[in-house]
């Protein structure tokens, strides 16, 4: 009986994980269409599944060290907000730890403007952490603009991966 | 005596008037060959039909056959076309640039001299205009020898149109 429950739980966990993974994979194509709009709220459906995972989900969220953004935007959508929440909670639980937020952009447009946009994204995450109680002296932001991509290609998928803030402890 | 002197005066008057009239006719005559093309350029529009000549009014009063006038318009148009075929407009030309060159031709149409009458302000542009005329040598001339004289000295105004 216990085994069945365990397997069921495992099944749900796996399903939920793939659901979350699927949500992120579809996000890039939706993001690119909202050209420059400060839009938030993408893929609300997956959020419901995420919530049902309580503590196991939070660990997954904390393991995510990247916040992603729509093109030319520094707005944080619901999925990414969940990740920031998880990190804020972690920081509040460990008051001696400091965090560095590195802002990045995709390669399109000019490098100097992207340097500024990367900073704006890092500041966006920093602002959220501060709202959740993390003191400013523990947060450091830096921008690399388009200079430190993680995906080297020139496709929409590569660009979506590069539009990010890295959370570094 | 009075009557005879009056009569003499009248004779002199009449003679002088006659000469004046002849002189007028002579000048007017040679001018009437030119007025057809004098103040207006030989009708250059995009279609290049040289219709301008027919719009012009001859100033002179002597006979200027329609055939001679249209021959001039035709030659003017042929010259224009040949020069335009040979004009390499220098990169960076802008509308409003204008260069006037004065050309002297031999009776065969061979270009003997091309000088800048009014510079465009750009040495490259001026040079391109001069070169175009040299390259187009010999310029077409009318078959009628009487009309060749009108083409021995020409002014060409280079004023580029179209997409800069």
């Amino acid at each position: 009986m216990l085994r069945k429950i365990l397997f069921a739980l495992l099944g749900i966990a796996v399903l939920s994980l793939t659901a979350c993974g699927g949500g992120e994979a579809t996000k890039p194509t939706v993001e690119d269409k909202s050209v420059g709009a400060e839009s938030s709220g993408v893929g609300a459906g997956t959020g419901v599944d995420g919530k049902s995972l309580d503590t196991q989900g939070k660990a997954d969220l904390l393991a995510k060290r990247r916040i992603h953004f729509a093109f030319d935007s520094s707005a944080i959508d619901d999925d990414n907000r969940a990740i920031v929440n998880a990190h804020a909670a972690y920081l509040m639980a460990n008051k001696n730890i400091k965090v560095v937020l590195e802002g990045n952009t995709d390669e399109r447009g000019t490098r100097e403007y992207n340097l500024a946009l990367g900073e704006r994204r890092a500041e966006s995450v920093a602002r959220m952490l501060k709202l959740l109680g993390v003191t400013p002296d523990r947060i450091k932001t830096v921008s690399y603009g388009e200079e430190k991509p993680v995906a080297m290609g020139h496709t929409e998928a590569d660009w979506a991966l590069n539009r990010r803030v890295e959370i570094i402890y | 005596m009075k009557i005879s002197s009056k009569f003499m005066d009248k004779k002199i008057l009449l003679t002088v008037l006659g000469i004046a009239a002849l002189a007028l006719a002579a000048c007017g005559g040679s001018e009437s060959v030119k007025p057809g093309i004098e103040d207006k350029s030989v009708g250059i529009d995009a279609a290049g039909t040289g219709t301008g000549a027919s719009d012009m009014s001859a100033k002179g009063k002597t006979e200027q056959t329609a055939r001679a006038k249209s021959e001039q318009a035709r030659i003017g148009s042929l010259i224009r076309q040949k020069v335009e075929r040979n004009w390499v407009r220098p990169a960076g030309w802008t509308r409003g640039m204008e260069c006037m060159v004065r050309v002297r031709l031999a009776p065969t149409g061979e270009v003997m001299q091309v000088e800048i009458a009014r510079s465009s302000g750009s040495p490259a542009f001026d040079r391109s205009a001069q070169t175009a005329v040299y390259k187009a040598s010999p310029l077409p001339l009318p078959k009628d020898k009487r009309l060749i004289e009108d083409f021995r000295e020409l002014e060409l105004r280079f004023r580029p149109e179209g997409q800069a």
């Binding site: 050209v35 030319d72 399109r108 447009g109 000019t110 490098r111 100097e112 403007y113 340097l115 500024a116 946009l117 900073e119 830096v142 921008s143 690399y144 603009g145 200079e147 430190k148 020139h154 | 008057l13 008037l17 004046a20 002189a23 007028l24 000048c27 007017g28 030119k34 004098e38 350029s41 030989v42 250059i44 003017g76 010259i79 224009r80 335009e84 075929r85 004009w87 390499v88 407009r89 220098p90 990169a91 030309w93 004065r102 040495p123 490259a124 391109s128 205009a129 001069q130 070169t131 175009a132 390259k135 083409f151 000295e153 020409l154 060409l156 105004r157 280079f158 004023r159 580029p160 149109e161």
Partner: protein, 439 residues
């Protein structure tokens, strides 16, 4: 007698009218059409005595220079009916046949060890006269430099404007070794040859900017793991930090007289444009807006600064007086306009203009507000005017790599520069360099 007097007056008037012919009795013909293109020029391969071949093909370098400028069309050698290398051998008729308007001949002879004598002559084919002729003696490693000087002379004689073939370009390259990227700040000839590395780094470098005297480069370096502004003397390599405030320190732009630097700092909370006096490093803030304000560039008369701002929602070009007053927007087409800089005559801006995700090097004609796209590549960056305003250097992507290209300012001729190793980006064209004689 009254009648006679009146008649005389009448005659005089009539005669005056009859003889008062208009000044020009000459036929005037309007010439409005032509062929748009480069001046047709024949460049004959240079001669040379002796078995030794010179290490550089001087005529080929000249031909490439002139073609790249967009002002000349070099005629195909296959049609040449003669190959003179000496003044006595020139027959102008040979060149009229192939419709060349100008002719360049020359020769390169070895003299003392490792040194060469280069002679050239430039002719106007239709005027049948020599326009220029010079002789040089140089070491083998200076042959390209001499070729560029000859190109400058030919360019100037035939266009009336100074050539830029003896100027330099600065740019950044990025290569990869086993585990990390290597960045180099390099300076090369205007055609991309003879690169010299002036800085090596394992962290990114951006925005090299030449001082007006061509002696220094300002640039952004991440060697301290954040964007900091440096200045380096290109002759002896000494460098100093110009700005290392909190946040971003970037986008250096020299004032035309070299005494000030406009730059972008976000130390006050968001990226704003400042001006720094080079004499005492004092700062004046010019913009005051929560938006991103960056990429400043001075007008040649020092009175205005153009910059990129997204205060209207998306990046567009704005212009303000050099004291920060009177800000007005200048770009209205496309959804992304950035990195503008003035042409040397102050009449145009070159910039990156984007629409629907495609980014092109472009020109904005300031008086007419006409925006002219110069390329059909879609990932263009950092366009930079040549100091004679007739060519634009920019970075673009080709075959998955960053490369440099030049386009003539009328958009007609585009050329890739010699490909360097790795990814090349951030080109900056030097000012006119007043070189010492090549000997």
């Amino acid at each position: 007698m009254k009648a006679v007097q009146q008649l005389t007056k009448l005659m005089v008037v009539v005669l005056l009218v009859a003889y008062a012919t208009p000044a020009s009795a000459i036929l005037t013909i309007e010439i409005t059409q032509g062929v748009d293109g480069g001046l047709p020029i024949a460049i004959v391969p240079f001669g040379g005595a002796g078995k030794e071949r010179p290490p550089q093909d001087v005529a080929a370098v000249i031909e490439a220079d002139l073609a790249r400028s967009g002002r000349f069309t070099a005629l195909d050698k296959k049609v040449f009916v003669a190959r003179p290398t000496d003044d006595k051998q020139v027959i102008f008729k040979d060149w009229r046949i192939v419709k060349a308007e100008a002719l360049v001949i020359g020769n390169v002879q070895p003299v003392a060890q490792g040194r060469w004598q280069v002679e050239f002559r430039l002719y106007d084919i239709y005027k049948e006269k020599q326009l220029a002729g010079y002789s040089y003696v140089v070491a083998g490693d200076r042959l390209r430099a001499v070729a560029h000087q000859i190109s400058d002379i030919i360019y100037e004689k035939l266009t009336g404007e100074p050539g830029v073939f003896s100027t330099r370009i600065a740019y950044v390259t990025r290569e990869r070794d086993a585990k990390r990227f290597l960045y180099k700040l390099q300076i090369a000839d205007s055609d991309g040859y003879n690169p010299v590395t002036v800085l090596n780094s394992v962290e990114p470098l951006l925005s090299p900017a030449w001082s007006p005297d061509g002696m220094r480069l300002a640039y952004v370096s991440f060697e301290q793991r954040r964007p900091i502004l440096y200045m380096q003397n290109v002759v002896h390599g000494s460098r100093s930090r110009i700005a290392e405030f909190n946040g971003i320190n970037s986008a250096p732009a020299w004032s035309p007289d070299g005494t000030k630097l406009a730059l972008t700092l976000s130390r006050d909370g968001n990226p704003e444009i400042y001006v720094m006096q080079m004499s005492d490093n004092s700062l004046t803030r010019l913009t005051n807006n929560p938006a991103i304000d960056t990429e400043p560039s001075w007008s040649p008369d020092s009175k205005e600064i153009v910059f990129t701002s997204d205060r209207g929602g998306k990046p567009q070009i704005y212009r303000m007086r050099a004291d920060g007053s009177n800000v007005e927007r200048v770009t209205f087409e496309g959804d992304y306009n950035a990195r503008a800089s003035y042409s040397p005559d102050g009449k145009m801006l070159t910039l990156v203009s984007g629409a629907q995700g495609r980014y092109h090097a472009a020109l904005l004609h300031l008086q007419s507000a006409v925006l002219q796209v110069l390329t059909d590549t879609t990932l263009d960056e950092s366009p930079s005017f040549a100091p004679n305003g007739r060519m634009i250097l920019y970075a673009t992507e080709r075959g998955g790599r960053g490369v440099l290209a030049s386009v003539s300012s009328d958009g007609r001729v585009r050329q890739l520069l010699k490909l360097q190793e790795g990814d090349v980006r951030e080109p900056a064209w030097s000012p006119f360099i007043h070189t010492t004689p090549t000997n």
